[in-house]
Subunit: 291 residues, 2 copies
Amino acid sequence: MAASQPPVRLPATMHSIAAVTPDRPLGDSNSQGARSAPLRLAVIDGDSGFLHVLDKRVCARGWQQRVFPGAVPVEELVALRLGALVIDLFVLGASGWAYLEQVGTALPALPTIVCSGPSTVAQRVRALRLGADDWLAKPCHPEELIARIEAIVRRGRVAAPPAERPALEAGELSIRSDQFQAFVGTRSLDLTRREFELIRLLAGNAGHVLERETIYQRVWGYAMAHGDRSVDVFVRKLRQKLERASPQWRYIHTHFGVGYRFAPERVDAGEAPSMAGELTAGELTAEHLLQ
Amino acid sequence: MAASQPPVRLPATMHSIAAVTPDRPLGDSNSQGARSAPLRLAVIDGDSGFLHVLDKRVCARGWQQRVFPGAVPVEELVALRLGALVIDLFVLGASGWAYLEQVGTALPALPTIVCSGPSTVAQRVRALRLGADDWLAKPCHPEELIARIEAIVRRGRVAAPPAERPALEAGELSIRSDQFQAFVGTRSLDLTRREFELIRLLAGNAGHVLERETIYQRVWGYAMAHGDRSVDVFVRKLRQKLERASPQWRYIHTHFGVGYRFAPERVDAGEAPSMAGELTAGELTAEHLLQ
DNA sequence: GGGGGTTGTGAACCCCCTGTTACCGAGGCA
DNA sequence: TGCCTCGGTAACAGGGGGTTCACAACCCCC
């Protein structure tokens, strides 16, 4: 652990929190619990009752479902671009095992779940060894089947590359999460990590006034102590760097007694040093500035 | 984004691989795909009969097993470098759900199986949604449990297929996944396995800043313990070898408080030791560096 | 216009982050 | 068994960046 540091250490140190990404811009992967991406599902089964109930749940989730009464040629499966495959092994009879192996070999990346009636341990083990990801006994609840499919898909995804985060554009600014940095044209603002987290939060809520406590909570990761001026200090640092890189624009506006609001505004040449707190309706809902 | 992501190595796999091919640049050590590599298993359970039977099977497979009577702090799990975790949720009582969620959040790459007594559909679904990969009802046959563990581990592995990967070209560097080695011209950098995995990850995401936690997660395969300096040390080793083989170029840039970014840059003769944080758009979207 | 609270600004302090080196244990190999 | 390589940990030095403080400037309200 920490090298030559004195013994006393607060548990929730700033670093660990900051490192854990206090503010997920959203639309991010962590929503797995709630919604998952639309999934294309193929079901090889003949049980119409089961299929009907399953279809309802699948549709409710926004997924798509194709039903097949028997074995589907592997090439066809490939063409379907499936997200997952559900098989009742026993509708395929004795050839089911060979088929399962075939699918497992040809499409190892395809999540495959066997959903069949009464079975023995040996059968289940065999299926799993042949490439199936799971075996769920019928009768089963469709929600459990869906949850199991999601679990398998999720497992495959944690190994996949992280989703790409788009850049935020505002005025002359380009805020790139993959760089932990903001740019004007090609020039970096040379923001520190905290400065970047702060501007990302503000720009991510452009047009909205954010209270200091909120800002602190989301950038620092824990509650702001009374009298803490950190937010003000960092806003100043940000303004300084913004002013230097993009002198024709003002980005961060102070709301006295409240907090700060991000909204890119072109500076009028002959502008008097206007009040920061003065607003117009246009500024407030400045949607035209960002998306 | 980067198509050619390095695979996420599960701990057990990784160790065995690293151990098997310490220096040998390689000849297709990927044969491990079929046979399951030794797996380090943790079981949170109190059922001595179950544990005994399971232990026999686990040992027969050449795996290792650690048993815990109750919840294990996540940091401890990290330190154990597990390949999979088996939990009897009900021995943890009401706190079991929170614990499961905690594990799922901190160690998303860790295959987790709940193996508990009678349960409801709702309980199983809940566990799966919280991050469990599977739920197997007790009493169960240990062979099925093992087969299910293997299926999950396999799923995590196929997500990053060892398919033929083209060589990555960057500056004077040529990173050949089929050789597990990097070259300058024809001269090998003589990278170790870990060093190679690291540079492959970085170069595969050229132009993007990767956080230490991300790097660790994807190269080492499990969550980074607080205070771990392994990434830094390996970056230094890499820089040393890169400097020796390609002195006219700088490849790895530090982003203070964040992590590292790979971007080949020719060293100017009279160059002052410039800041790593300084970027140009050219570097950012450095597509010309790869592909 | 004046007073009290709020915000801007600059600088000092010091913690912690990173680079770097050395050391140790594990495992392969002879 | 002994040597060697490799991975991981510990320790230290140096410097960047976060926090805090003091004071000035400012805003709002009475």
